[in-house]
């Protein structure tokens, strides 16, 4: 049966070293390279017990008409199911205005009194027409900014109209507002509660780190975010607000404190994410950025700490690792748009910018704020969904984002679990395919996959916890 293999970097670079083998179904097995060579060349016999494991894992079959081929085909189909379901996530940029001036913000920051940077009701309504034209069974509306609550009248009308339409059409709809919570009021919370809206916010770590990362008048971003979380939980419910940290140079060496902050605020997990190389974040890279290896070290220390907390009885998980583990351990697609092949940009997500322009991803609109509008599909005004997606380049972007055909991904064992990001590689390397050996995206994901497969293979407490994160047990 077809599979790919990659040597584990912690192992000797010879026949005694180990490699991970992954097949098209996403099943994996770790073998010594001497066994991998025997399996492929058949120049020496393989141990019968190993042959049984290879059969069980669908790496070997005696008969191409066996049920093993059916099982792998079914798995391939499940993993690519989002390809056939239509765009689910639609992002609306309610405004570019923001009352924070974070140096790593990926989008333009303008003062909070310039309504020229607000989305209009007419554009929002046109965006809803495009969203509801999607064939996707489930729809997800996410409102972003700037700080979207500075244009609350639009957020209110957008959510109200979307809920009404979803009810009329009998379609499941998830609504999320991404906000710094600095300006949230009890009235807003009551509206969000009544319209089943989830809130997503940012907590970069302890107060001093958060406030240094997120300057605002009064230097009280952390205090306001924490007060907002409490208000939302009191009115909308405990699970109606989630948070994400952004990692800057100041965060390095403080991952345990960051995790502890999330634990202290009562969250059940954290999503440790790197700085995005888009938009205005590029200009501040030299001041707040770091090497990819620095982030990997920070991230893996964070994973170790989350495992340690779990073993101590606090069931706390890292969400990115959980997403990867679900891809590694189950046949299901996670629907996570940043890690799809072909890329989720445009096929799984569409972004409606404050000015009515439509982009294939949030990163694409961030890039556009610095003048690079390559990934703009058109304008919301007078366009249909079909018209926007008929842009000839769009088909090329999709074709060129299939990792089976990307040099460096084509032979990689982690390909079945990984994804591609044309916007990222265009932003960092000036080419939508990019060179994998120079890609931070690739370097980060390879490091995490390598770490996870070796932990899973150990068959100890860590392995059992990681299986639980992936949805098994």
């Amino acid at each position: 049966m077809p599979f790919s293999f990659t040597r584990l970097p912690s192992q000797p670079m010879d026949a005694t070293g180990k490699a991970v083998l992954v097949n098209q179904a996403g099943e994996h097995i770790i073998l010594r390279m001497s066994d991998v060579t025997r399996l492929i060349t058949r120049e020496a016999p393989l141990d019968p017990t190993l042959m049984e494991r290879l059969h069980a894992g669908l790496f070997v079959t005696h008969n191409p008409r066996s049920s093993g081929v059916d099982l792998v085909a079914q798995s391939v189909r499940s993993k690519l199911s989002t390809l056939m379901s239509g765009t689910e996530l639609h992002l609306f940029v309610a405004t570019l205005r923001c009352d924070h001036s974070c140096p790593y913000c990926q989008v333009s920051r303008v003062s909070d009194d310039r309504t020229a940077y607000d989305m209009t009701i007419e554009d929002a309504s046109a965006g809803l027409d495009i969203m509801f034209a999607s064939p996707s069974k489930c729809l997800k509306l996410e409102v972003q900014g700037g700080e979207p609550l500075l244009n609350y009248p639009l957020v209110h009308e957008l959510v109200r109209a979307a809920r009404k339409r979803a009810r009329e059409e009998g379609r499941p709809l998830e609504c999320v507002v991404t906000t710094n919570l600095a300006n949230i009021t009890p009235e807003m919370c009551m509206f969000f509660r009544d319209h089943d809206v989830l809130l997503s916010t940012s907590i970069d770590g302890p107060s001093d780190l958060h406030n240094a990362n997120r300057p605002r008048p009064g230097n009280d971003a952390f205090q306001r975010a924490v007060a907002g979380i409490e208000l939302v939980r009191n009115i909308c419910g405990v699970d109606s607000v989630s948070a994400l940290p952004t990692t800057t140079r100041r965060s390095l060496g403080r991952v345990r404190e960051i995790v502890d902050t999330y634990v202290g605020l009562g969250f059940s997990g954290v999503f440790l994410r790197p700085l995005s190389p888009f938009g205005f974040a590029v200009k501040t890279q030299s001041a707040i950025g770091y090497d990819t290896q620095d982030f990997i070290d920070h991230y893996l220390e964070g994973l170790d700490y989350c495992l340690e907390l779990w073993k101590r009885g606090y069931q706390f998980r890292e969400h990115y690792a959980s997403l990867l583990l679900r891809r590694m351990l189950t046949p299901f697609d996670t629907g996570y748009v940043d890690l799809m092949s072909p890329a989720g940009a445009g096929s799984a997500v569409l972004v409606f910018n404050y000015d009515g322009d439509v982009y294939i991803s949030d990163e694409a609109r961030m890039l556009a704020e610095t003048g690079e509008k390559l990934f703009r599909l058109g304008t919301i005004r007078g366009s249909t969904r079909e018209h926007l997606l008929a842009k000839p380049q769009f088909a090329h972007w999709i074709r060129d984002s299939m990792n089976e055909a990307i040099p460096g991904c084509d032979w990689c064992a982690f390909r079945t679990w990984c994804g591609t990001d044309q916007v990222y590689h265009h932003a960092t390397q000036g080419d939508i395919v990019g060179i994998r050996s120079l890609s931070s995206f690739c370097q980060r994901n390879m490091a995490v996959f390598n770490w996870l497969v070796q932990k899973l293979d150990a068959d100890d407490d860590d392995s059992r916890i990681l299986r639980a994160w992936g949805g098994l047990g």
């Binding site: 049966m1 060349t41 056939m84 069974k137």
Partner: protein, 97 residues
Amino acid sequence: MIGQIVTTTESDCIVELKPASNELISEDQMSSRLFIALGDFVLRERLEHETRNIRELIVRQAFERSNLQWPDLDSARPGDDPLRFGVPDIETGRTHT
């Protein structure tokens, strides 16, 4: 290790190599790693060649099985339960003969 092709002729290919990170590595170590990496690619080529037919069969089989009778069932998620198997018969009015 990062490689860049400098020149190619009908019989030769000259590649310039440098370590991917700041690690100190001797020329011998580097050439040893290169030959091991090339050996791995020979294995991958052989595997790809020998499994090409079954790979195509898997992809064909994955996409040809669309449900003509109930197309909605094809796009259902595992938790959707479009046929309502998880709902008691007393609620669905389903009877068994």
